[in-house]
């Protein structure tokens, strides 16, 4: 019981700390809120001292941060979230309206995501139900490509092609059900691809468990076996699903912009830039609350799905049978990527020729040119090193932090929810407030968010793994905690999380670029990939190649990462099996060996 109280206390502490942090933001970053508010109201107004003084007086920020903060918190207790500093309108109705639109969008997007995930897993499910999974090569290049597509790109393509050129669905606005389809697709497809990929990763393990064999032997239909396999795997994904729910609600800025949806993402972005603290605090609190609700819901759902087994430690390990090594696919992807980068490196990425702008691909410019007539192949090639090194370094750090904190779920779970609920620009501003705007700040800002889904994934896998029979057996044989961790838990948990981290690598590169407008991260004319996408986005319709080239290399990177990760499983598994056998003797050895054999038998 006290654990639950402690968790709730920790969660509240985080929320309060966050609200206070936001309240102090202008003073920490030394950015005058009167100035940013003035610019949000009227960009062309000269910030003379008199005007700024009037605004300060109007907002009541003369008294300093503490005065402002206590005033706001006092109002909140009475159910009054204050007035927007920009417009003077009441915050609560505005934020509630925006939250409503965002929740609806998220709901439909979630539906799309679940369908997408289902499609991605369809093949595994079909084969698994017929018990023909064995020897299947790890696929997933398509889902990896889908997962690495930037939302804004999907959104603009859908708006232009489906909305404008075909005219099938409205391309703009938020007036009724048919307006939800395109934005939900733009959000749901990449999210569904990530979820589907993670599920697809777990399913073979479930099909390899003894119950599946027994069920098949008893004559249960393939369909019900598949259903039970999904039920067996979904609990491990639920925390990530919860993160998506919250992330899509508050972080759909790009999609909201393209389709002109009055959602919470845009509201908080504007408030963060203008330092409209009442709106920012109310929006953030709403998201943090939503995160707490989502976590509660996923926990209940997980308990409903695997409760008794989890409690009694009666699960078996979800190790998938070792597939054949990755095969030629990763080599192929790697070779293509290397060839592109190599060809690009021989060219000049900065040479402008405005007379040659937006030229289609030709022998002179194999990937075409951008809006300033620069060769895109050269820019893609030269951007590779920066992008890959930085994104890979951040991903590695996020993986390390994610796994470590994932091992301490009581501490990390509320932290994960809170961090994930924050709008990315707010995280960037908070990181800037703490770390200053140095060279490492963008990496810190992205890394501060990137570990969260990995930690959530780790702890959910860990919870299942701890409830497995072989852990009980090892414990019974006197294995210590360190031994368990090193030889049993980590080897089981790390590979899927590693594959997850690789799947998110392109997203990290994009997130880095999205901070550019705060003056963080790569600045033009750097050919960093995320920046390439962002600067060519306005020309997506006229010069599709300018966006496709960087998007394609990112997708290629995603496919390479996922297909190469398939080959990472084997050695880890082998070491683990040796460890188990060493630690077990006598009659138990037989059972341990049987556990190890089950997957093989399933082939």
């Amino acid at each position: 019981m006290w654990q639950r109280v402690a968790a709730a206390g920790w969660r509240t502490l985080l929320a309060v700390g966050l609200v206070c942090g936001i309240g102090l933001l202008p003073w920490l970053t030394h950015t005058d809120p009167a100035h940013t508010v003035l610019k949000a109201r009227s960009a062309e107004r000269e910030p003379t001292p008199e005007v700024l003084a009037d605004i300060r007086q109007q907002l009541g920020i003369d008294g300093g941060p503490l005065h402002v903060l206590t005033g706001w918190l006092g109002g909140l207790v009475r159910g009054d979230a204050g007035q927007s500093w920009i417009s003077g309108a009441d915050v609560l109705p505005d934020v509630t309206r925006a939250l409503g639109a965002s929740l609806l969008l998220m709901g439909v997007a979630l539906l799309v995501a679940v369908l997408t995930a289902g499609l991605i897993c369809a093949r595994t499910l079909r084969l698994g139900a017929r018990r023909r999974l064995g020897g299947r090569r790890a696929g997933g290049s398509l889902s990896a490509v889908l997962a690495s597509l930037p939302e804004f790109l999907v959104a603009s393509v859908l708006a232009t092609v489906v909305g404008v050129q075909l005219g099938w669905l409205p391309a703009l606005g938020w007036y009724g059900p048919q307006w939800t389809v395109l934005p939900a697709l733009a959000l749901g497809l990449p999210a569904g691809a990530v979820l589907g990929r993670l599920l697809d990763d777990l399913l073979p393990g479930a099909f390899g468990e003894p119950w599946a064999l027994a069920a098949a032997a008893r004559g249960l239909t393939g369909r019900s076996v598949a259903r039970q396999a999904v039920r067996r795997c979904v609990p491990a994904l639920l925390p990530n699903l919860g993160l998506f729910v919250v992330g899509l609600t508050g972080g759909a800025v790009a999609v909201e912009q393209v389709f002109d949806i009055p959602g919470l993402g845009r509201t908080t972005l504007q408030a963060a830039l203008a330092q409209d603290l009442p709106v920012l605090q109310a929006g953030t609190l709403a998201l943090v609350l939503l995160a707490a609700l989502a976590t509660g819901a996923t926990r209940v759902a997980a308990r409903l799905l695997t409760g008794p087994a989890l409690r009694d430690g009666a699960l078996s390990s979800l190790h998938r049978p070792a597939p054949p090594a990755g095969g030629v696919l990763p080599l192929l992807y790697g070779a293509v990527l290397l060839a592109v980068v190599g060809a690009g490196l021989a060219r000049d990425p900065l040479a402008l020729d405005t007379g040659q702008r937006l030229r289609a691909p030709s022998p002179d410019h194999p990937f075409g040119t951008d809006a300033l007539g620069r060769d895109l192949l050269a820019r893609v090639g030269h951007g590779a090193l920066d992008t890959l090194l930085l994104a890979a370094a951040i991903s590695a750090a996020a993986l390390l932090v994610g796994v470590l904190l994932g091992l301490l779920p009581r501490v990390s779970a509320p932290l994960v929810d809170t961090v994930n609920a924050l709008p990315p620009v707010l995280v960037a501003l908070l990181v800037t407030a703490v770390a200053g705007s140095g060279a490492a700040t963008p990496a810190l800002a992205v890394g501060a968010v990137a570990w969260a889904p990995l930690a959530a994934h780790t702890s959910s896998l860990l919870r299942q793994e701890r409830a497995t029979l072989h852990i009980t057996a090892s414990k019974g044989l006197g294995a210590g905690r360190v031994h368990l961790l090193r030889h049993e838990l980590l080897p089981a948990v790390v590979p899927p999380v590693l594959r997850h981290a690789l799947l998110r690598l392109p997203g990290v590169a994009l997130a880095l670029a999205s901070l550019g407008f705060l003056g963080l991260g790569a600045q033009p004319p750097s050919p960093e990939w995320g920046l390439l996408l962002a600067e060519n986005q306005p020309y997506a319709e006229r010069a599709p190649w300018a966006v496709l080239a960087p998007a394609a290399v990112l997708a290629l990177l995603g496919a390479l990462a996922v297909s190469a990760a398939g080959g990472l499983r084997q050695p880890v598994l082998r070491r683990r099996s040796r460890a188990v056998t060493e630690g077990v003797d006598g009659a138990e050895r037989r059972s341990a060996a049987a556990t190890e054999k089950e997957p093989a038998g399933a082939r």
């Binding site: 950015t31 409503g100 909305g163 409205p170 703009l172 393209v258 702008r357 809006a371 003056g519």
Partner: protein, 504 residues
């Protein structure tokens, strides 16, 4: 069992009515409505780029929005040549140094009352009391009194030769007494203005509905009403126009212009000039010779032709072709220094902002041209509100800025005073030059329009001579107008868009 499962599957659909509250109200289904209502004039569907920022308060940027939709009017308006033209005031005359008399025309407020001198005086007095003061009144003390049956007397503390121009500012629009009843300094223009269209409903920052005001003094408008939507994303505006959801889309970005039909895109010269400002008081460009070298290194023809795709005119001076009188009165720059060869003066920081997508592109071209001339350049691009403070503090060596050269007053000298004099409030170039200050001060004193313009051009020649500013492009604004629509007002000052003659 089976029926139970089915009902469980259907349960989510019970939520459908609840979701209705999550959609925006207005818009969407009104494309068919209003066609031929009242026998004349369909409703116009207009997309504006900037949503109301301050609840449509007339004292900030929302004033422009109100005047573009034909909701509000001031005593005067700007004509095509940038001089004051009659609006709610029929005529005016100067009475002594500090007093002007405006004679009102017969007009009614949208809520039914007459536009009386007392109402006008009350409305303008409210504007002078607003905090922060409207930009057009910055640094001016104004007293307004009813001076007779149809006369309003405006007195200023200091002689103000440009008062009629000043009163054309959208933030000095005349509203009826009821607009101020809310108290707390809030002003509500909904239904209380004098223009040809009356605001009836505002849905936050999403959309607004307007109806024709039948008793408008200038005659009934042809369109029966306006459905205005605020769409911040330029691509989204262009897309909506292409799908036929809109009749008029304001400010289509240059990158999207090519996706519109040639007939749908109308471009107008504006008073906005994109310039390169060189920091004249610190760093590399403190040296006038190096500023001259930088100016000489720039080939300004490529900006208008390539980066702005022809929707711009090559930079000629502070004022572009939208300021119609400027070209004929322009004189050669005075007092230019000889260009020096750039030495190892270290790295130049060139800054710009990405709120207007063309500016980072312009800056990258500038960077390359300067580097060809031997400078080393580092580029910084940020969101404008995160950049302006540093720019005003002189933290950058060079700055690419798009600036409206006829500020809120419509007075050409105002921009020179604020941007290029020692005491200027917006002096990003950090220019402090005696000759420039004197020329600007001379121009500020002149009341006669033509002579004031001459003096402004003399000051411009001095400013250009200092090489602290290199005009790159005079922007043209692209308005997307559907084929069926006629009579859109393409205003170089961006103060009007829909008028009495606009219809579809």
């Amino acid at each position: 069992m089976r029926s139970h499962r089915r009902s469980r599957l259907l349960a989510p659909f019970l939520l459908v009515p609840l979701t209705a509250g999550c959609f925006s109200s207005g818009g969407g289904d009104d494309s068919a409505s209003g066609d031929g209502k009242d026998g004349d004039g369909a409703r116009l569907r207009v997309a504006l780029a900037f949503p109301p920022a301050e609840n449509l308060s007339p004292y900030g940027a929302d004033a422009t929005l109100l005047s573009r939709l034909g909701v509000t009017e001031g005593l005067t308006a700007l004509d095509a040549n940038g001089s004051a033209a009659p609006a709610l005031a029929e005529s005016w005359r100067r009475d002594g140094d500090k007093t002007w008399e405006f004679t009102l025309r017969d007009a009614t407020f949208q809520d039914g009352g007459d536009v009386t001198p007392a109402a006008v005086a009350a409305s303008l007095t409210r504007a002078t009391e607003a905090k922060p003061a409207p930009a057009a009144l910055a640094g001016v003390t104004l007293g307004v009194k009813a001076g007779g049956d149809r006369v309003v007397r405006v007195t200023t503390a200091e002689p103000d030769p440009v008062l009629p121009l000043r009163l054309s500012s959208p933030s000095l629009a005349i509203l009826s007494a009821k607009a101020y009843e809310k108290g707390n300094g809030r002003v509500d223009p909904v239904g209380h203005a004098t223009g040809p269209f009356e605001l009836t409903e505002v849905n936050g920052a999403t959309s607004a509905s307007l109806e024709r005001f039948d008793d408008y003094w200038g005659g009934r408008a042809q369109a029966s009403g306006i459905d205005a939507r605020f769409i911040a994303d330029g691509t989204a505006r262009a897309n909506a126009l292409r799908t036929g959801e809109l009749d008029i889309a304001e400010a289509v970005p240059v990158a999207q212009a090519a996706s519109l039909d040639e007939k749908t895109r109308r471009d107008t010269a504006t008073t906005r000039t994109t310039s390169l400002l060189l920091n004249a008081s610190s760093g590399t460009f403190k040296d006038a010779g190096l500023r001259a070298a930088a100016r000489a290194a720039l080939d300004t023809s490529v900006f208008a032709k390539d980066v702005y795709e022809g929707y711009g005119d090559p930079g000629a001076g502070v004022y572009g072709p939208a300021v119609t009188w400027a070209e004929g009165k322009r004189t050669a720059p005075v007092g230019r220094a000889a260009a020096k060869k750039p030495g190892d003066g270290g790295t130049i920081t060139l800054a710009t902002y990405d709120n207007r997508p063309e500016l980072p592109e312009v800056a990258q071209v500038v960077k390359q041209q300067l580097e060809k001339a031997g400078f080393t350049v580092k580029l910084t691009v940020r969101e404008y509100s995160r950049l302006e403070g540093d720019a005003l503090d002189g933290k950058f060596d060079a700055f690419v800025l798009a600036r409206n050269t006829l500020l809120d007053t419509g007075d050409p000298v105002a921009v020179l005073a604020s941007d290029y004099t020692c005491d200027g409030g917006f002096n990003i170039a950090q220019l402090c030059d005696e000759g420039v200050d004197r020329a600007v001060a001379d121009a500020e004193k002149i009341a006669d329009t033509a002579k004031r313009q001459d003096a402004a051009m003399a000051a411009e020649a001095r400013i250009l001579g200092s090489d602290a500013v290199v005009p790159l492009v005079h922007q043209r604004i692209i308005t997307g107008v559907a084929d069926s629509v006629q009579g859109v007002v393409l205003d170089p000052y961006e103060r009007t868009l829909v008028g009495t003659g606009t219809r579809r």
